[in-house]
Symmetry: none
């Protein structure tokens, strides 16, 4: 099966944003054993879009097109697809009703512009989009089956996950099986992961290993290709066990697992709760943990005490300590974690204080210096000194992760055999 | 001048790596007023590359192709270009000598494979590559001038910087000028922006308008193309003023401006500070504001009070109020904003309480219901009831923006004429 992607949008040709949708989908298709043959990116111009549809539909079986399904006048993908298919554009009443109802629920009156999103090539199959207004349109163009998807990443990914990829997965039966497992790690360098897994690929038939840094996480990809599903699955399981044994506690989960999820599981298992006192992360630490649904069961409180005043008044950090050690110090980090635990009435307290830059505010420490602390019910408070590289955003993000990871490791929340 | 990019390489269609060369070059070309019309990514297959050259050379003036100039058998770009140009492949003696000398200096004997890199279409112009072995090849194909560059980023970027871009810059001296302004908005639907700006493009020579949603922001792109720089600049300024007048306070800035930056500017102008009390955003509100460097000057405190206990104990929300109205209510939002302002000793207090889902925790309100409040030094507290659509992450992100935006609008921090 020959697959082509078509991405529309002036902004994709100006270098300001990459087509993350396309990249994501290519990877997912490759995982199904369905590689992409060609990708074409065109402006929001009728001639260009039409030509892309016509050329692609003359040579490939499946076209997946993203973008240009919005309500504005430069959204012309559906009408171009209709013209390429030789079909008139007609209103899909169910879509129009759902758009009206959706907007109404949010107190917005539908305009004639919104009606554009309900216009589809006659004979097309319309797949409702529960992530947004524009539906996914499935239409025959020439020898191809074309799927038109909105370019908004959430909607694109949602529709692919729920409808498109399962359909294509069924089509790909019979092809060589490809199994992938991603091991998600934090607190270990890519080169160390590579060392730890040295020689592993040679020990298992059809196994290859790849590394990818998606800051602040490092991911290991184990890929097994083989003729039979059961065999590939078995090899993948065994290789995963061996990889986890070698990587150790830096791996917090596999595939779709998240660090907040690992923290949540470990806390729930002990019926424990946590409170935070944050400085440089300014709320990112709590926000990271609260990415996990149901976090209100175990995340009791976070105090963002950006200033010394706030550290004193709200967290009870002694003014003398701030004066002698400075806000960015081991003892202030410890006092913050203990203050958070006391104030939140929680099992654990977490804290961070450090220098995200650009300036150091008079501190003798360099930018990137960060202390994280964990106050535990055994009465001990453990402080770790970090030195993170990069800019303000990177330092804050690594710090938020480091706080969550300190709690995970303390609770033993590592990835078991998947 | 119509420009197309062609990128070759199986790896670019597998989703594991993005084509950074293309993204970089697009941005550089846009800055020269030379936008890219289309980009095609193809596998390392003869038929696909040949077809890409033939189709592109039939419609565009300039083709820039990356990849496939290496010494291995899957490097076939030069021979495909020769075939598309209808010219034989011949050895460029100067290139062959330089490859031999380059390898010799590193103690490597040149092989017949290396000779492939010296083979160019007859009549092509060869530009020496001081960053690597493969030269840049300039060849006429159909009506187009094609430049073939190696895909190694260091070589690609080096050759573009030193040879290609200066040449194109000279070409573009007489070309129409292109000026772009992005107006960044929050709290207005894309379809309403389109309505507000209806007819604007027709009123200014060379103006076109595009829309882009980068949740939770909506962006309006004003593009002016004209023969002269001063004229295009003047049209853009005037069109921007008119667009801002029509859009109203929903626009918080233009081009690289950010919402936290607009808040920071407005607060600094009044020497004012802010403190937050957050529930569902769990720190995202403070983290958003702290994206702005130097936020510690005006962001005093944020309390993430996820639980009723924390709302009572830390923010002083009366237990009776929580019992009668529920945590997700107008009066609790107001009391949280006032509590934050008091606790932080700040000029303003901001708060949010709402239901991010998936569950509603027994609240009678539906998921997506959010109250944001602003407590101001005039003694008034303004509460807004929102109804956000989408999933947990989207609702939290919109809420964080809504808090910041309430303060911005209160302070009059709208985009002036840029």
């Amino acid at each position: 099966m020959e697959i082509e992607l078509i991405a529309t949008g002036d902004e994709l040709l100006e270098g300001t944003i990459a087509d993350g949708n396309g990249l994501w989908l290519m990877e997912r298709l490759a995982a199904l054993g369905l590689p992409v043959r060609r990708k074409t990116t065109v402006r929001d111009r009728r001639d260009d879009i039409l030509d892309a549809f016509r050329a692609a539909s003359g040579r490939s079986d499946l076209l997946i097109c993203s973008g240009g399904l919005g309500p504005t006048s430069d959204d012309i993908t559906a009408e171009c697809a209709a013209e390429a298919a030789g079909a008139p554009l007609v209103q899909d009443d169910a879509t129009w009703e759902s758009i009206r109802a959706r907007l109404e629920r949010r107190g917005i009156a539908a305009t004639e512009n919104n009606r554009r999103q309900a216009m589809v090539p006659k004979g097309a199959r319309v797949h409702a989009n529960r992530f947004g207004t524009a539906p996914m349109i499935e239409v025959a163009i020439g020898r191809s089956r074309a799927f038109l998807l909105p370019g908004v990443p959430r909607e694109f990914v949602g529709l692919c996950e729920e409808i498109l990829l399962p359909q294509l997965g069924a089509l790909s039966a019979g092809a060589p099986v490809r199994r992938v497992r991603v091991l998600r790690c934090f607190g270990i360098a890519e080169s160390h992961l590579d060392d730890a897994l040295d020689g592993l690929a040679a020990r298992f038939p059809g196994l290859s290993i790849g590394y990818r840094t998606t800051l602040p996480e490092n991911h290991v990809r184990l890929v097994v290709v083989g003729p039979k599903a059961e065999q590939a699955d078995a090899v993948l399981e065994e290789a995963t066990r061996e990889a986890l044994r070698r990587i150790g506690p830096a791996c917090f989960g596999s595939d779709g697992a998240t660090l907040p999820g690992a923290v949540a599981r470990a806390l729930r298992a002990r019926n424990a709760t946590v409170a935070l006192a944050e400085s440089l992360t300014a709320g990112l630490g709590a926000a990271l943990l609260a990415d996990e649904p149901g976090a209100s069961d175990w995340l009791r409180l976070s105090v963002v005490a950006y200033t010394d005043d706030a550290k004193r008044a709200v967290l009870g950090i002694p003014a003398e300590l701030l004066a002698t050690d400075g806000a960015v110090s081991e003892r202030v980090a410890a006092a913050m974690a203990e203050g958070a635990r006391r104030l939140g009435g929680s099992t654990f307290g977490l804290s961070c204080t450090g220098l995200a830059g650009p300036g150091t505010g008079g501190s003798p420490e360099p930018v990137g210096t960060v202390f994280t602390a964990l106050s535990a019910p055994d009465g001990e408070t453990r402080v770790v000194r970090h030195r993170f590289g990069g800019d303000r955003e990177r330092i804050r993000r690594f710090t938020a992760y480091a706080m969550a990871d300190a709690l995970r490791r303390h609770l033993g929340g590592t990835a078991g055999p998947a």
